[in-house]
Structure formats: C-alpha cells, structure tokens
C-alpha cells in the first residue's frame, strides 16, 4: 500500500463525517447553502454557535482520546491498554460529582457560569489525579509501568467508590446530571472550550507525531530501547504527562467517553499495520472521524432529544472489545 493512502482514506472519512455533522440534526441545513453562503441568519447562528463548535470539539476530543490510547498501548506494550487505565478520568469524575452534588451549597450560580464550573472541576480533578499518579509511580527517579498500572487500578477503584457515594447522597435531579455527565456529552460545546482544547491538543499531537519513532523502540522493551539511545525514563514520564493532560482536558469538557482510546488504535493496526509512525497520526484522524460520526448519530437517533455520545461509542465499543478479547484468547491457544 502506498504510504499516503491511509491518510487519504482517513482524511476522506473525517471530511465526510464533518459534513454530516454540520448539516444533519433536528434542524437540517442545506449543504449547498452553506457552501455558497446563502444561508439565513437563523441558520447561520445554528451553524456558528452550535454545530461548528460542537463539531470541532468532537474532532479534537476524538483525536486526543485516540492518540492517548495509542500512546498507552505502546507504553504498556499491551493492545488492551486504554487511557482510562491511569485513573485520570475517574479522578476527574469525582470532582465533577462533588460539584454537581454540593453545588446548591454554593448558592445561586448564574447559568452561564455553570458549564465553566463543571469543566473547571473536571480539569482540577484530572490534574490532581495526574500529580497523584506521578508521585505514586515515580520510584527512585524511574517511572515503573507496573506501579503505574497498579496505582491506576487503585485510583479507579477509589474514585468509583467515591462516585458511588456521591450518587447515594444525591437527589433525583443531581443523580440525573451525574449519570448524564458520566456518559459523555458534547452538547455544551462553546468556542472557548474549542480554543482551550485546540491550544492543548494540537501541540500535543505535533509532539507525539514526532516521537512516534521512539514509540516503536519502546515496543522492543525498555532495556532494548535504552541500548538504542532512547532516554527511556524521560520519555515515559512525558508520555504519561501527555496522556494525563489529554484525558484530563477531554473529561473536563466532554465527560466520560469510553472505548475511543482503546478501539481506534486497534482498528488502525488491523487496517494499516503496527508501525507507530502510522498508527499515531492515523489514530488521530480515525478517532476524530469516529467521535464526530458517533456524535451525529447521538443527535439523530432520538430527535428532538439526544443520546449521550459516550453511550453511542460504548455501544459500538463494547461488542468490539468482546470480539477483540475472544480473538486474543483464540490466538493464544
């Protein structure tokens, strides 16, 4: 296969999904009208304040999650590794849960501030969890992947218990808000979110694309990578930081969106091979396309309401994950 063709295929898929996302919805927009600037002011308002920021958020969140997934799988040398494994998203959930449940105690919050508060809480939770993970996994100046995994499991368990406790003490309305948030939603997308996301996700993607050769070295094993001249400790530390940042920022703005990080890199490897110089950028494209598509489906299925997008990705991802597992078991026999 020509080296360029995976990019062409995936870019085509992404553009198609973006076009669908812009035009389809409870209120359909005409594609030709958008292209030839013949849309009315209401249409334009829908496009500029609702559809476009939401679309860009889906693209950025999808790319960030999928790239994080490909990094995690290279770091852990395990195709079943997922960004959620570190416990960052679970940690962020607890903070958002606390905010939702105890918000009445803060007094009246203006409506416009609500979404910022929620994102802010998610981000603080994510950063806090990252700091915790670093301090737990860095032992004598080295990042131990095993400790990282165990710390992640412990944090996930703790955060799960804390979130459970919060749902226990919350009232019906808060419970609904909590469960909706935990299923992921791109509905609150604003241009401010897009700008913050883009200013973090795009440089991170740039960095990671340049490092994809070193990710390949990591696949040989840490010792071998060191013999090939890679500063493995520094590299691992940076990878964990990048994943934590990506997951943190996406969770803060879009809630919990499962399976994109696990599924997308795996699909890319099935389609185009395991070379990370291809897997990482292709994951970004496919992740963006997939989440954009899933979000469009989420908006279209139960018009005029919408499904949480995390539900759609999990509905797609659950069966895929099972298939992966069964295949893995078969192969190891």
């Amino acid at each position: 296969m020509n080296i360029r063709s995976p990019y062409i295929i995936l870019l085509g898929a992404l553009l198609l999904m973006m076009a669908m996302a812009l035009t389809q919805g409870a209120y359909s927009l005409s594609w030709s009208a958008i292209l030839f600037d013949k849309i009315g002011s209401i249409d334009q308002q829908i496009l500029m304040t609702v559809r476009l920021p939401r679309l860009l958020m889906a693209v950025l969140v999808g790319a960030a999650l999928a790239v994080s997934g490909s990094l995690m799988q290279a770091l852990f040398r395990n195709p079943l590794a997922d960004p959620g494994l570190l416990g960052v998203s679970a940690g962020a959930s607890v903070f958002v849960g606390v905010l939702i449940v105890f918000q009445p105690a803060l007094g009246a919050v203006p409506l416009w501030a609500k979404s910022y508060l929620q994102s802010g809480a998610g981000f603080i939770g994510a950063v806090g969890t990252c700091a915790l993970i670093f301090s737990l996994s860095k032992h004598q100046g080295k990042v131990s992947v095993l400790h990282l995994l165990l710390a992640g499991i412990a944090i996930n368990a703790l955060a799960g218990a804390a979130t459970g406790l919060l749902t226990y003490v919350s009232n019906d309305e808060q419970l609904r808000a909590l469960s909706f948030w935990s299923m992921g939603n791109l509905g609150g997308a604003r241009w401010e979110h897009v700008i913050v996301l883009a200013s973090l996700v795009l440089p991170i993607c740039g960095y990671v694309f340049r490092q994809s050769k070193n990710l390949n070295l990591l696949l040989l094993g840490e010792e071998e990578a060191r013999y090939l001249g890679l500063n493995v400790e520094r590299f691992k530390f940076r990878l964990v930081a990048v994943v934590a940042l990506c997951v943190g920022i996406t969770v803060a703005f879009a809630g919990l969106i499962g399976f994109v990080g696990l599924m997308v890199p795996h699909l890319v490897r099935l389609l185009f091979g395991s070379d990370n110089r291809l897997v990482v950028p292709c994951s970004a494209l496919l992740g963006a396309a997939l989440l954009t598509g899933a979000d469009t489906v989420a908006r279209l299925l139960v018009i005029p309401a919408e499904l949480p997008v995390g539900l759609v990705t999990s509905l797609l991802g659950g069966p895929f994950f099972l298939w992966l597992l069964i295949n893995n078991i078969k192969e190891s026999r």
């Binding site: 390949n216 094993g221 010792e223 071998e224 013999y227």
Partner: protein
C-alpha cells in the same frame, strides 16, 4: 577496550558477581562461559551499563561507561538480550530497521543495509514476513540483524565498536549456529569487539579468540581456549562427567559426555 574492574553485585542477599575483572578488546571474539546462574548475563548487563555494580567500575576506552551519553553509546555499542518479544505485529524489515534509530539513513541506503544483513544472518527474502510468524531461531536471527545494523549503519571502521550478545545461538540449528559464529568471526576480524555469552563449550573453544569462565559469580578463567587444558577448569565449573579431547583440525580442547 571495554573493561570490568573488580565488579561486584549482589541482589536480594545473593552475590551475583564477586570481584570480577575482565576485558573485551577490539577485534576479538570473546566467549563467556559458565553454568546456569554463574553470572554470565549479569556480567553482560553490567558491561552494557543496564545494571550498576555495587563495587568496581566499568571502563569504556579508559573512561567510566556512565560518562558516555546514551545516544553516543548507541552508536558504538549494541546489545542483544536473551529474549525480545514483539507484542504488536511488525514485519521482519520493520524490526531490523529499529536498529537504525541512532542514525539517520536514507530510505534506499537503509533498505540495502537491511537486505544485506538479513542475508548475512540467513534470512534472505524474509523482509516482508510477519515477525511473530517466524520460528524462535528465525526471530533470534532477525534480532541479531537488528543489533548488527545498529553498528554497521554509521561505522565504516568497526574497530571502535562493541557487540554484546546474550546466547545468540541458543535457538539455532547446526547450520545456523555455524553461520552466525562464522559471521561473528568475520566481523571481529574487521575490528569489531564481540562478547558472546554461550552454553556450548565446544563451540566456544573452537570459535572464541579468548574465553571467560564464570562460576558462582567468580571469574575462574580468562584466556585462550588452548590454555583451558592447564587445569580442569571446565570440569570443575560444570560438575559434569566429561572426557576431554582435541579438535581434529584446531589445537583447541573439546569435550564429550562420559556415558
């Protein structure tokens, strides 16, 4: 020259290396022998800088090994560990090309080098095969090709280069054992310093320029194969009932099992 000076190392209360001093010179094929658990791989880890001894020092060209940045080391020293598994499916060519990481080679130049090296290790026309579909012996040779290209890519003169191999022929059949050992011999004749941990005492005596024999973390012998006959070094280290013979073509000792 790569040198270990009085290196000692203990882990979990066990003394793995006990005051070991030895050297690896340019242009020689040095065989490291010893029973299971004698400290062969540990010595290799120390020499490669992966493990730091509790006492003693490792010197590379008379400077402490730790004084070299890892990027510099990667250009002059390659290490093949016992088992390298690839979780994700790479082609043979992709695995070998990982050895080029310290260098920036053009695509055509890299392809030529990889093809030539794969031929040298007895894997011609295997570039596009899935690494995980290869047999254990083929995988071992593909990994050998990877560490070879790491040194061959940027060094016209191999005399400043060091190749450390941990049991590179363990999974190979007779033809491939001979091929790999002859290849190592050829490379050492070009100036490369090769250290090879090996279990077969007969092959070690036949192909090695010098031998190092370890037992219980201690250096029992260091010298030319022919000098092994001065004392029953091999017999006492391995605790096996052996008969010592001479090779039919070379003045080196060989051993057979007693029935």
């Amino acid at each position: 020259m790569l040198q270990a000076n009085n290196v000692s190392l203990s882990r979990g209360g066990n003394l793995l290396l006990d005051c070991v001093s030895m050297s690896l010179e340019s242009g020689e094929l040095l065989m490291v022998l010893g029973p299971n658990g004698a400290g062969k791989s540990t010595l290799l880890s120390c020499l490669s800088g992966a493990v730091h001894g509790d006492a003693g020092e490792i010197l590379l060209e008379a400077k402490p090994l730790s004084a070299f940045p890892i990027e510099t080391l990667a250009k002059k020293r390659a290490v093949l560990t016992q088992q390298v598994t690839m979780v994700f499916n790479f082609t043979v060519e992709q695995v070998v090309s990982l050895g080029l990481a310290p260098w920036s080679l053009g695509v055509k130049q890299a392809d030529e080098l990889i093809q030539r090296t794969l031929m040298d290790v007895g894997l011609p026309n295997m570039q596009k095969r899935d690494y995980n579909s290869l047999s254990g012996g083929e995988q071992q040779r593909a990994q050998l090709a990877r560490v070879l290209v790491q040194l061959l890519a940027g060094n016209d003169d191999l005399s400043g280069c060091y190749l450390l191999l941990d049991e590179p022929i363990a999974a190979l059949d007779l033809e491939q054992q001979q091929r790999v050992l002859r290849l190592l011999k050829t490379l050492s004749a070009k100036g490369l310093a090769v250290l090879c941990v090996i279990h077969d005492i007969n092959l070690a005596a036949l192909y090695g320029d010098r031998l190092v024999l370890l037992d219980n973390g201690r250096l029992m012998f260091q010298g030319k194969p022919a000098d092994l006959t001065a004392k029953p070094y091999i017999e006492s280290a391995y605790q096996a009932d052996l008969i010592r013979l001479h090779h039919a073509q070379m003045a080196v000792p060989q051993w057979q099992f007693q029935v």
